[in-house]
């Protein structure tokens, strides 16, 4: 009995080991086939751009840049010739490792602040960036003042009423 069990166990272990190896092999094949783009997604469409990472960064930057020859369109979405050229320039600057700020300076030094959809924060644009905030503070301040003034009137009128009620009670007591 013991020997049969022993053989069974050995057979089991052997089978298990073989299966494990087979599975591992299959798994490796599967893994390699997945990472090569030829197997499951044999017909997966390739991105239009050569380098999607660079392209993604281009879109990010270009969305905040203005197409100079269009009627108010961003550099990212414009189909004008000059827009194509400028996108090409930005792409090569990205590939050359330039930072976003450097790319923006590149364009601003050639075309001026007009090309930026996000105006630079400088004395000329303080009114633009801080104006609404200041107006809000002012508005809320006046609102508060107004409400306080009106509430005071309310208290005063009811205070008088209380006084008058007192007098009335006094009169009634007599």
């Amino acid at each position: 009995m013991k020997i049969a069990d022993h053989f069974k166990t050995r057979w089991l272990a052997h089978t298990l080991r073989k299966s494990a190896r087979a599975l591992l092999g299959l798994g490796l094949i599967y893994f390699f086939m997945q990472s090569s783009s030829l197997w499951v997604h044999a017909d997966e469409a390739k991105p239009l751009a050569e380098d999607p990472v660079v392209e993604a960064r281009l879109v990010d930057i270009a969305q905040e840049l203005r197409c100079l020859v269009c009627q108010n369109e961003s550099l990212a979405s414009s189909r004008a010739d000059l827009a194509d050229d400028l996108r090409r320039e930005v792409r090569s600057l990205i590939k050359a490792g330039k930072s976003d700020d450097e790319i923006r300076s590149f364009l601003v030094s050639r075309y001026g602040d007009f090309v930026l959809y996000r105006p630079k924060i400088k004395p000329l644009t303080y009114g633009l960036w801080f104006g609404p905030f200041l107006v809000l503070i002012l508005g809320l301040f006046f609102l508060y003042q107004h409400l306080k003034a009106r509430a005071v009137t309310e208290q005063q009128t009811s205070a008088l009423t209380a006084e008058e009620r007192e007098r009335l009670r006094a009169i009634l007591k007599e």
Binding site: L68, S105, V108, R110, F114
Partner: protein, 225 residues
């Protein structure tokens, strides 16, 4: 019974109307150049006649006009006679920048090699200049528009006035007219020529803020053979 605070909306509105009125006279699409009073970006481009490359350094010591044009540009035909007359009359040399002569539609049938682009551009330009007159001392070919970008070109035609030290002193957007040449360009030309002869340095510190980084640092030079 007019309390001050109730007048505020009216006052603010009138200020707005004034701005809107002034705004009516401005052109929202005209972009002034930040390159005025900065060094003209260097480049090396092939010429129309094929006599080797040209760089603006060759014109140091002279006051000259740099005119952006192309055969596909309709407004250029308008300004061309003016330039031709100007070139004959005054002694100011004009260098042409043939901007993106080869258009995307030329490559509809398939991409072109650099050689074929150059020869097609030259052929078309020669024909055009023969028909409309040639005011240029020489014309350089900016096929991919990169030099144009360095100069802040966003439309055609555009014209730059460059002084003896190689600094851009004036830019005109759109076709040049005799009035522009007479009232704005020539007086400046005389001033610059006087400046050069008395050896005084031009005032270039004024618009330093507008050109923080020299365009030249990013401009590759194209040595197209």
């Amino acid at each position: 019974m007019i309390q001050k605070k109730f007048l505020i909306p009216l006052v603010l509105f009138l200020v707005l109307v004034v701005f809107l009125g002034v705004g009516l006279r401005r052109d929202p699409k005209e972009i002034p150049s930040p390159l005025i009073n900065t060094a003209a970006p260097d480049f090396e481009l092939p010429t129309l006649k094929g006599e080797g490359n040209f760089s603006p350094k060759a014109y140091l010591g002279r006051v000259w006009l740099f005119n952006v044009w192309a055969t596909w540009c309709v407004s250029c035909r308008e300004e061309h006679p003016v330039l031709v007359a100007f070139a004959k009359r005054e002694g100011v040399p004009i260098v042409g920048l043939s901007y993106k002569e080869i258009q995307p539609s030329d490559e509809d049938k398939g991409p072109m090699s650099l050689e074929s682009k150059l020869s097609l551009a030259r052929a078309r330009s020669f024909e055009w200049l023969k028909k409309h007159g040639d005011p240029y001392q020489l014309s350089v070919l900016d096929l991919d528009g990169r030099v144009g970008i360095n100069y802040g070109v966003y439309g055609v035609p555009e014209t730059y006035l460059i002084d003896t030290k190689g600094f851009i002193r004036y830019k005109h957007i759109g076709p040049v007219t005799p009035e522009v040449l007479a009232q704005e360009v020539m007086p400046l030309v005389h001033e610059l020529q006087k400046e050069a002869s008395t050896n005084s340095w031009p005032n270039t510190s004024r618009n330093a803020e507008l050109a923080p980084s020299t365009p030249q640092s990013f401009a590759p030079s194209y040595a197209l053979k």
